[in-house]
Symmetry: C2
Subunit: 89 residues, 2 copies
């Protein structure tokens, strides 16, 4: 199953219950060299800064999950968007 299929399957369940605007960002990094410092924590801040150009984000509405394993790390950002928080471009 591809990742898009995964999103599709979770979405069909979720959207029936919740009508909230939601943004979910995942960054998965397969690292060949374990010794190198991770840049995902910095990346996270910069990605959030980019998103704030498009939508008003209440930082309390951002949930961050970060997992680091041997040669794999995953950053997960879940953002509940405000109902009328879009800035039109």
């Amino acid at each position: 199953m591809g990742l898009l299929d995964y999103f599709r399957s979770t979405q069909s369940k979720g959207s029936a219950n919740v009508a909230k605007e939601r943004l979910q960002i995942l960054v998965a990094h397969d690292r060949a060299a374990r010794s190198r410092p991770s840049y995902l924590p910095q990346l996270q801040r910069e990605i959030l800064a980019v998103i704030r150009k498009y939508v008003d984000i209440d930082m309390d509405a951002v949930t961050v999950n970060y997992e680091q394993e041997e040669s794999h790390e995953v950053l997960e950002l879940n953002i509940i968007l405000p109902d009328a928080g879009h800035r039109e471009l």
Copy 2:
């Protein structure tokens, strides 16, 4: 199954075969209002620009998948990283 579990399960299979550095980024947007224009295509360019601060990306090594459905859109970026392309910060 949570998304982190999903990444974990696909990673354990994939890493046995490939030792390549890989970065995978997913942005899923549950949209309450369908009429609003999507900002994911612009977001994609900005996220890539941010990542290029940390790693040298060959744009030929970036695969982009974008799917838009009724009230849900998913942007998927798959990046094969160069073996020694890291710029240390």
